[in-house]
Amino acid sequence: MTVRSRVPFYVFVFLLIAAGIAVATWRHLELGIPWMTGEQRPVWMIEARVDFEGQGAPAEVSLHIPEQPPGFRILTEQAASPGYGFSILDSNAGRRAEWTKREVSGPQTLYFKAQFVPDEDTLQAPPGRIPRAQPVFWEEPQATAVRELLSQASERSSSPESMTRELIRLMQPDNRTQNTTLLVSDENYLQLLVRMLNHAGIAARTADALKLEDARRRQQLVPFLQIYNGERWLTFDPRTAEQGVPENLLLWRQGSESLLDVVGGDDSQVSFSMLRQTVPALQLATLESNANGLSVLGFYQLPIEEQSMFRMLLLLPIGALIVAFMRIVIGIRTSGTFMPVLIAVAFVQTTLVPGLIAFLSVVSIGLVLRGYLSSLNLLLVSRISALIILVIFITAGLSIIGYQMGFNTGMTVTFFPMVIIAWTIERMSILWEEEGAREVLVQGSGSLFVAICAYLAMSTPLAGHLTFNFPELHLVVLGLILLMGQYTGYKLSELKRFTPMKVYD
């Protein structure tokens, strides 16, 4: 009879709700599980195709593949190359895909496919050891020209970045001087830049990139220039002096390592084709969750069968919430507290209209048969047992008749919980005898109304999505139900019931 303070209770409920929302938000941010269903994310599917002519000898093909291209994450990687042994080798110098075969002759084609997810947060990995500028030896008269150009560039610049930009600008055809014409020929332009920068004491190298455009085939890698500014490698377009990696540029190869090595083959070449795909954000999160420690909190790692069971199970709290709300705040009378939820679960599997028809026909046939049972003077337990068997007969009968008449929906009757239906019939029947048909109608339609509401809430794709992918949101549902348990205000139905009190006011 002590009146306990309700403050700890409200604090507890608040903590529950806050924890639920916080964990869900955290998982949304960390794992990228979307709030909404049907959210799509772009993914680039890139296929590298290696062609070469076999010489009738053992062949070994080694292709450089990207390790951590800035602005992208690698989602999947696979190789298609019948008859070849395949492996991916990780080394200090980079990652390489290697195909091997004992005897190769004639034209050969090998494929390597990878999916890349655009992700602005992925930065370039810092280099393992600090790169140093390589000393370069020049012969006259190039040496003088180089010295001249470098001093021009360095005069107009203040940092390695601006120096690089200036140098590229000086080397462009429209402002070429005698010095540049002497040095530049078409093939060696990029190599020349790298050597000149190294000569100026700036570590520089080449990189190969792919311009991403949807549905392009037979693309070649485009060379880019990279310099080291003391912290990380910076990428420059050697034609426009533009700095940085544009969004649609995938750096396939960085560093001096070769792109393709073929041992035991001639005429080797590599070309790329690409495709922009969209993948459901949820699928993406599921694929990536395997690599993430947070995945422990989700259901994705369970076997599929258990997953679908949980999908159903996790909807139940929504139904319970609806029932609690309907009974506590609205004040709708139902027969059996949670019978509506179980009926709603059955509706989810049968869909509404066939489920409603099936349920009503089973219950009304059951009520007629129950009328006969009550005249048999049976004990309660055996009467209920007999009723369960009759309900099974009725459902089986309805299924068969429905099937013969060409309605497959007849089969869905079997989703209803037999024991619950038997008890519902029993309760309704007693209610009928004691309180009359009106009360049966009131409670029956109340139960069906709540069941339909629960069904509508549970069958929305969003509810299924949120409850399954964010199971922690059930803490919020729990908190709300606890709060409702403390609701001492008037029910909506009581405002109607107590209306005659107006005269006494």
Partner: protein, 315 residues
């Protein structure tokens, strides 16, 4: 549709279902006392020690085989009532008022054979009417001979008096009259008439049926304005005494007035309904608050009854 605003209900002090459950039943009624009121047999035994009279117990049927004794016992009885010990809301109560050859005559005048009564007993034992569907026992009680002064207002059935007792203080009372609609039962939600009674005098206030105010009994046509209950103070004291017997802080006490034996306790209810407020035309909350605010509660049932008569009388 006609609605009343929550603010007006609050002003009237109307107790609602959620508040009753959370603030009164859950707080003042100890769960361990529930079996005492949910089982009529236990109630009878418990209150008898506190000097509260109940209808005479004729037979207790506990086992299926004991049903065969029922026919012998009932052979020369004119009237009796069969009740499930754990029944609620008047469910499963059969009142027999007379005999017609081998058949029994119910209060409604319907004739039922002995075999049907035995089936009814079987149903009771199997737990059909008990609160949780658990096995039950059936009790057979002496038929209450309602005092003619009150009986004439009721259509069949015995009029009973519901008194809500809060922490041992009778706070509100009403007279419940059976109607054809209620099939001789005195339950308001089944269509019985509820007549509010002034706690101070035992005189009738307002009457309602199906939550609607009425002035005449729908079946007997008698005016419901000037009903008075005799021996009112003793009845209140009797109700107050049930608090000591059960320890339930918030309960409904159902009394009947027997022509020969005076006031008898029919049953106790740990979850009394809210319709009593409509029969009285006022809310329970002000009275409940007044008792919660008492600095020195009264110790004897008589003092509490007198306090209630002074404090809650209609002015």
């Amino acid at each position: 549709m006609d609605w009343i605003s929550p603010r007006r209900l609050k002003k009237l002090g109307m107790l609602n279902m959620n508040r009753r459950n959370v603030d009164y039943i859950a707080r003042y009624n100890d769960r361990s006392s529930y079996p005492l009121v949910d089982n009529k047999l236990k109630t009878k035994l418990a209150v008898s020690e506190y000097g509260v009279k109940t209808p005479k117990l004729l037979q207790v049927v506990r086992q299926q085989h004991e049903i065969s004794h029922f026919r012998d016992m009932a052979a020369d009885l004119k009237g009796f009532a069969i009740k499930p010990a754990k029944g609620s809301g008047g469910k499963g109560i059969t009142v027999i008022t007379g005999r017609d050859g081998d058949d029994f005559v119910k209060a409604s005048g319907a004739r039922i054979p002995a075999a049907m009564l035995e089936r009814h007993l079987t149903n009771i034992l199997a737990g059909l009417y008990s609160l949780a569907g658990t096995p039950d026992v059936a009790i057979v009680e002496n038929l209450v001979q309602s005092s003619p002064a009150l009986a004439r207002y009721s259509f069949q059935g015995v009029p009973d008096i519901r008194i809500v007792v809060f922490q041992g203080y009778p706070v509100m009372a009403m007279l419940r009259l059976a109607t054809t609609a209620s099939d001789g039962k005195a339950n308001l939600h089944q269509g019985a008439v509820g007549v509010g009674l002034d706690i101070g005098s035992g005189k009738s206030l307002n009457a309602v049926q199906f939550n609607r105010p009425i002035t005449l009994h729908p079946d007997t046509g008698l005016a419901l304005e000037n009903i008075g209950i005799d021996d009112w103070e003793n009845m209140l004291e009797m109700a107050a005494r049930c608090y000591e017997a059960t320890g339930l802080g918030y309960m409904g006490v159902d009394l009947v007035v027997d022509a020969n034996e005076g006031p008898l306790l029919l049953e106790l209810n740990a979850r009394p309904g809210l319709a009593i407020q409509m029969a009285n035309g006022c809310g329970l909350l002000p009275r409940l608050n007044a008792i919660e605010d008492l600095k020195r509660p009264h110790f004897s049932p008589r003092e509490r009854a007198q306090f209630a008569m002074e404090s809650f009388a209609r002015r």
